[in-house]
Symmetry: C2
Subunit: 141 residues, 2 copies
């Protein structure tokens, strides 16, 4: 097992349509985890979420989150990120990011359509600036 360079873990995180697994803490202390579509803006993680979801409720209650992205093939690799979420409902900013995120996950042809669908009232734009990153490859070595 070896540590990964910032370039290597960024490449792992941004490869293809790999999703992030977003962990949050419920108000009663139970953990929650759900896959998200995300992109990076420099070192920051950017995603959108509907205000009525469990993750949104949890983040409003407890803005510290953890995110994992991993490579599910031998010899395996993973990135763990911790940080605090900051929220925005600026519609212009949300449309731009939702379209960028959609381009990654549904492709250029559908990006604008999905971007518009995901940048509406009731959606929240989330930015997480990492406070801690752990990135390891060769887990099975």
């Amino acid at each position: 097992m070896q540590a990964m360079s910032p370039e290597a873990y960024r490449a792992l995180m941004m490869a293809g349509t790999r999703t992030g697994k977003l962990a949050t803490t419920c108000p009663d202390g139970r953990p929650h985890v759900v896959p998200i579509w995300f992109v990076m803006d420099g070192e920051d993680i950017i995603f959108t979420m509907a205000a009525g979801t469990v993750k949104a409720r949890n983040i409003r209650h407890h803005p510290q989150i953890a995110l994992s992205v991993d490579e599910e093939i031998f010899p395996y690799a993973f990135v763990l990120i911790e940080g605090t979420a900051t929220l925005s409902t600026d519609m212009a900013e949300m449309l731009a990011w939702a379209t960028t995120i959609a381009r990654r996950y549904v492709g250029a042809d559908l990006a604008e359509q999905y971007g518009r669908r995901n940048a509406v009232e009731g959606e929240i734009l989330v930015r997480v600036t990492p406070t801690k990153v752990i990135a390891r490859t060769g887990i099975a070595d």
Copy 2:
């Protein structure tokens, strides 16, 4: 987006070398998430962990966990499982499960070698019986 049948979400979870993303709550309330190698025993999730890891510390403090497994390609699908972890240090049982888990993730040729490596003093066998399962496919539809 549609609900998945138990057969369909079980197939998703057990496909190939797909990992589970295990979320736990830290003693100070922060969330933690890390990929794990796992297998299913009926509906239960089985994995091993080293006693000194963050996830082991968290589970001893707060045995409720959440686990997500997802399909990272269009139209996307995910399974979320919640449950309470029960721990065992029975070495015979641990060796059997560690070998089964290794067979999945490193293949039949290396399964016994990895099983022996992962069934030693300081490792803990974990069983999670689901109390809640959410399984959805066609997320991007």
